[in-house]
């Protein structure tokens, strides 16, 4: 079976506190296939990050469901979703790194629950650090890094487990052209091993992606496919 992430009538609404709700995603239906980059663009506040959070199982939808490999993961109990998340690599927009830890330790973090030895975790993390050209910072505390280096650390942390699902929220926002190309290349490599890659980004940055990725535009809570 080919890996795929699908949304069925996915709705996310946040209470506003005055009895009303703000509907961010409105009965959204979409399929994100494996082996191809899917780009979700939209204006600020359109709900791109919310969509990624729901797809990653970090947030429960108000209604509807997310299916991974034809299994309704959004309906699973927390303990099963936590375990399923071991197959997901999340690149956060705001990094969400552990301060007080080194770059290497942050990248090792997703590998610890897998039960591998510490040296195996270290070897794997160093290999990914090389890929993102951040090996020189391996022993540095993350709070000493620049914005771009922090983002690269987040990317390395997301990819270290070679996940089946890669969810990236504006992965090139803090990168220069050279680094952005490196990041896009890494995401492209993920598609080569048949991973589902979903990237939330702005329209202008979406143009930089190589090949012919699937394009969606999130507007008024609805995801519309875009043609080339």
């Amino acid at each position: 079976m080919t890996a795929a992430l699908t949304c069925h009538n996915l709705t996310v609404a946040f209470p506003l506190g005055n009895g009303k709700k703000r509907v961010v995603l409105n009965k959204l239906n979409a399929t994100f296939p494996a082996g191809q980059i899917s780009i979700v663009s939209g204006a600020i506040g359109a709900g791109k990050s919310t969509l990624l959070n729901v797809l990653a199982g970090l947030l429960r939808p108000t209604s509807g469901e997310v299916r991974a490999n034809d299994q309704a993961v959004s309906r699973w109990m927390g303990v099963h979703r936590d375990r399923w998340r071991q197959q997901v690599g999340i690149i956060f927009q705001h990094h969400h790194l552990l301060y007080g830890y080194t770059v290497l330790e942050n990248i090792m973090l997703p590998l610890i629950p897998w039960g591998r030895t510490l040296s195996a975790c270290r070897r794997k993390s160093i290999a990914v650090l090389q890929q993102v050209d951040l090996l020189r910072c391996a022993g540095d505390l993350v709070n000493t890094l620049s914005g771009g280096e922090k983002q690269k650390t987040t990317i390395a942390r997301a990819l270290v487990t070679q996940p089946l699902f890669v969810l990236a929220d504006e992965p090139t926002a803090h990168q220069d052209d050279e680094s952005a190309a490196l990041v896009l290349n890494l995401l492209d490599q993920c598609t080569a091993r048949k991973a589902v890659v979903i990237v939330a980004t702005h329209e202008t940055q979406a143009q930089a992606f190589p090949g012919k990725p699937l394009r969606f535009r999130l507007e008024s809570g609805i995801l519309k496919p875009l043609a080339y």
Binding site: N53, A56, G57, L58, L59, R60, G78, V79, D82, R83, R85, Q86, Q87, V88, I90, F92, H96, L97, L98, G100, Y101, E105, L109, P110, I112, P113, G115, R116, T117, L118, C121, R157, T161
Partner: protein
Amino acid sequence: MFSTLQIWAFRDVLRRPVETLLLALAVTLTIAILGTLLLFPRALYDTIERLLDASPAIVVRRVNATGWQPLPVQEALSAVRNVIGVVSVRPRIWGVVRAPQGPVTVMGLPPDYLARGYAHQTERLPSRGQALVGAGVLSGQAAKTITLEGALSRPFEIIGRLPDPTSVFTHDLVLLNMADARQLIGLPEGYASDLAVAVFHEDEQSAILSDLTTAFPWPVQCLTRHQSAGMYASGLNRGSTLSAITVIPAVLAVCLLVMVNIRLTMGRQSELGIMKSMGWTTGTIVRLQLYRTLSVGLPSAAVGLVLALFMVYGPGTTWIGKVFLGWETLPPKLYLAPQGALTVLLEVAGLILVPVAVSALGPAIKSATTDAHALIEGINTQ
């Protein structure tokens, strides 16, 4: 030897050296203080119980309106041997005389007798002109002789000290040869200070009291081992009450420790959220928290317990006896009853370690029911 998670937890603890040091100090001191306060009364009771076990089941003294009187040995022996339940009777010779540092209790020992349980701790018994002295009789002096003043005054060669574990009872005691003691006290030949009665069964102590009292042709006062234990226990109640009162601040300290630990762990909710987003299950996070707590708590508890043991059983530790029982002289050496002490120490460790561990695990368990996104963003988790 250690799993990856355990090593990770240990490294985690080292990442926050100040926080870890403060937590370790707090746990160590709380366990040491609480352990000392709870262990001290227990150690006293254990010591007294053990020493009383080696004492006579019943002590019979002749009394009249003016106080106690020497009793004629032959008459007393023939009277007491008719009482059913009595196994053996031993006349004892003892009294109070003056020593250089104050009054001491002198006891005469038959040549072949020493209280059971302690015979192996004394190399030899005193012959004529010799004495075995308690720890407080010549405190701080390495004298080879002691001059005692009673019915007569004479020096005695000190041939040894009474064993430390008996010092609760033998602190001011001088053991002499039977004939020397009799002369020093001024007790006529054929008379004894009291009778030590052994009974067949422990429960018979009180059962035969009325028969024993009426068996003698003169008024007597009988004191059972149970009654002696009660007298000592009431004397120690002051210490126990003070201990109980001082436990209150220690318990408050535990509460404070738990609250601080909860706040510290709650402050790491976003960290837990990030871990969950990386595929850490609640079980793994709980285990990590447990390892973190134990890697600080267990060594701290061990040090705290050793400190408590030293404060109670350590040589020369005087302040506890001074504070709780008003002892001004050398502190007695307390008997360590392994089972009793272990129970107290486990109680203390549990009393402190369990709440501290639970306070660390609580927020991790709570995170199981919260979305990772809410934990990361700190929404409704505090």
